[in-house]
């Protein structure tokens, strides 16, 4: 759940990139860092082992100021995908406001994807998140690789699922911003309901998204 600090007039929103090992979660964050131009953009903090596998998490802070003078801060985290780091995944997932599930499109990764998604559902329940209302976007990454599932196959398989599907190639940047925007679209209504973003802070859904992404219709200040 987003954190509201009245004294420093700050709203902190936590978004988590979840998924199987090596599916491109960290790459997503790096591309976002390059692609987005919000008011405020921090450096990516990575906590990896020597062979570039995420040990605990990566963190990308983004933010903007509302017309009401509040700071809206986004903390984008990735989880470690390797099965052994389940306790870490659980800790990172706790209090998340939204999740991007980064799946690997390669045909060989079907089982890893489904096991990781099941793990997401289990951990969400363990940390007290309502999986039914938790904003989720499913990204099928690595579209640039050969031997991947076709988009029709993927959409067919996921047709019954309520979550938006985005095809992406994080290495080249394709679909990375779109994934993020889809998540913001899903997160905004919940935040607006809890914190009256539109009413009290003058932040409409469009302004919310544009400002974070850094479109020209951004923060009027």
């Amino acid at each position: 759940m987003a954190e509201l600090d009245e004294t420093t007039r700050k709203l902190t929103i936590k978004l988590v990139y979840y998924g199987p090992a090596m599916s491109g979660k960290t790459t997503n964050l790096m591309r976002l860092h390059d692609l987005l131009s919000p008011d405020l953009k921090g450096e990516i903090m990575t906590l990896e082992t020597q062979n570039d596998r995420t040990l605990f998490f990566d963190l990308l802070p983004l933010g903007f100021h509302t017309p009401s003078g509040w700071l809206v801060k986004f903390k984008l985290y990735t989880v470690p995908g390797q099965v052994v780091h389940d306790a870490t995944r659980k800790a990172v997932l706790s209090r998340a406001d939204g999740v991007v599930f980064v799946a690997d499109s390669q045909r060989s990764q079907g089982i890893n994807n489904s096991e990781s998604f099941q793990n997401l559902e289990d951990n969400a329940r363990r940390v007290g998140l309502d999986f039914g209302t938790l904003p989720i976007v499913v990204q099928f990454n690595k579209r640039d690789l050969p031997n991947v599932l076709s988009e029709e196959e993927i959409r067919g398989r996921w047709s019954a699922a309520p979550w938006p599907l985005v095809m992406a190639s994080a290495l080249t940047g394709t679909g990375v911003r779109e994934t993020f925007v889809k998540l913001l679209e899903a997160v905004y209504p919940l935040l607006d309901r809890s914190f009256s973003l539109s009413e009290k802070h003058g932040v409409s859904a469009k302004a919310f998204i544009d400002t974070v992404v850094g479109e020209q219709l951004g923060n009027p200040r």
Binding site: K41, F56, L59, P61, A87
Partner: protein
């Protein structure tokens, strides 16, 4: 130091971000690089690195940003803009590094804690499952013990039954063989009695015949006494034959033990028959007194119960150090048949009293007793849904009391 658990994503102050760095060395290095006094202060001015005193009024302030927010300021007196900015950048990098360390350590603590809790949870689950298996194992042991007891009891009975069967076969054979001669001996004896009458009838004629030679021979042979004594001889012989016949009948009763059919009997008859079989041993050592009350007919394995009575009777005889008294009483008390065997023998020492029903426990010399008599007796009584108790005083005597239910129709059938 107590492990903090603030959470890896909690907001960090400037002080925390720079906590791993020596303030004196950092200040000194910055002062040299910037060619003038420096001061690092938190955004709310509450914390000053190295407690540096405030600088001159004209000092410049550069914001130090961490996690999108101004966390503190770098104050400098001199230095050009580019150098000042570079120094601020340097500080921000240090702060980022501090944050990285802080978050990693916090996450580490959280993960270790979660793993530990998981371990604890599994440990508890394992303990529970171990306890389940332990209970099962204990139960198993108990059940095995019960089975072993059952087998042990069956084995003892088999042993005793085989012993009795061989004795019974012998007894049955002997009884059969004796019955035939007994039959014609008895028949001949009664014929002999009728012959004496005939002798008597001719005796008067011989004595009154006046034939001197004949009467002389009669008196010389003392035939009057012979005719007088002969009937009583025959009468005693008939008594002896009857006794033999009775013993044979009783022996046949004991030879039936291997045919463990239930029959309806008066237990007093079983007691009497046991007394008859043991009469020789009893009479030489003790006076036997029977006080047998009226007993209802009982459906039971009479041969087995007779064996119990004989066992108790022979035990009582063996307890006699000098001539004493054995008393057998029977009757019905509180809806149960009660049979008591009391003796005035040596009694049973209290220390061995609890063991007398144990298998193979014996006080007799090796070879003279199997140590199974009381064990099998108890097994037999238990199989008849009854119980057997012992009460003994050293040098005063021992009483065995048997209780048997009147009607066994509704109780479990015996194992024998």
């Amino acid at each position: 130091m107590e492990i903090r658990a603030r959470g890896y994503d909690s907001a960090l102050s400037l002080r925390e971000l720079l906590s791993g760095i020596s303030p004196a060395r950092l200040s000194a290095a910055l002062a040299i690089l910037l060619g003038g006094q420096v001061r690092v202060v938190s955004a709310d001015s509450a914390w000053v690195m190295g407690d540096t005193p405030p600088l001159a009024e004209n000092a410049r302030r550069l914001p130090l940003v961490h996690d999108l927010e101004t966390t503190g300021y770098l104050e400098i007196v001199a230095a050009d803009e580019a150098r000042a900015r570079a120094a601020a950048n340097l500080l921000e990098l240090l702060m980022q590094s501090g944050a990285r360390y802080f978050m990693a350590s916090e996450m580490h603590v959280e993960v270790v804690k979660a793993d530990y809790e998981e371990l604890q949870r599994r440990h508890v689950a394992l303990m529970a499952s171990e306890a389940r298996y332990r209970a099962l194992a204990e139960n198993l042991e108990e059940r095995v013990r019960e089975q072993v007891d059952t087998i042990e009891s069956a084995r003892r009975q088999l042993y005793q039954a085989e012993k009795l069967a061989s004795v019974g076969q012998l007894a049955a054979g002997v009884a059969h063989e004796i019955n035939n001669p007994i039959g014609f001996i008895r028949s001949n004896l009664s014929t002999a009695q009728s012959y004496i009458q005939k002798f008597r009838s001719v005796a008067e004629q011989v004595k009154s015949s006046g034939n001197a030679a004949l009467t002389g021979a009669w008196q010389a042979a003392n035939m009057d006494f012979v005719l007088e004594d002969f009937p009583s001889l025959l009468h005693e012989s008939m008594d002896g034959v009857d006794r033999v016949a009775r013993i044979v009948t009783d022996l046949k009763g004991f030879s039936n033990v291997d045919q463990a059919e239930e029959e309806i009997v008066d237990l007093n008859d079983c007691i009497r028959s046991a007394c008859n079989v043991a009469a020789h041993q009893v009479n030489s050592r003790a006076d036997l007194k029977l006080t047998l009350g009226e007993l209802p007919p009982l459906r039971c394995k009479a041969g087995h119960l007779s064996q119990v009575f004989l066992n108790l009777l022979l035990n009582a005889v063996q307890a006699m150090e000098k001539r004493g008294e054995i008393r057998i009483r029977s009757g019905v008390e509180n809806g149960r048949i009660v049979i008591r065997f009391s003796d005035t023998g040596c009694g049973i020492p209290p220390e061995i009293l609890p063991r007398i029903f144990d298998p193979f426990f014996t006080t007799q010399d090796v070879g003279s007793g199997t140590g199974l008599g009381l064990t099998v007796s108890r097994d037999i009584i238990t199989a008849h849904s009854g119980d057997i108790e012992v009460d003994s005083k050293l040098n005063v005597g021992t009483t065995f009391t048997i209780h048997l239910p009147l009607n066994r129709e509704n109780t479990q059938h015996g194992r024998l």
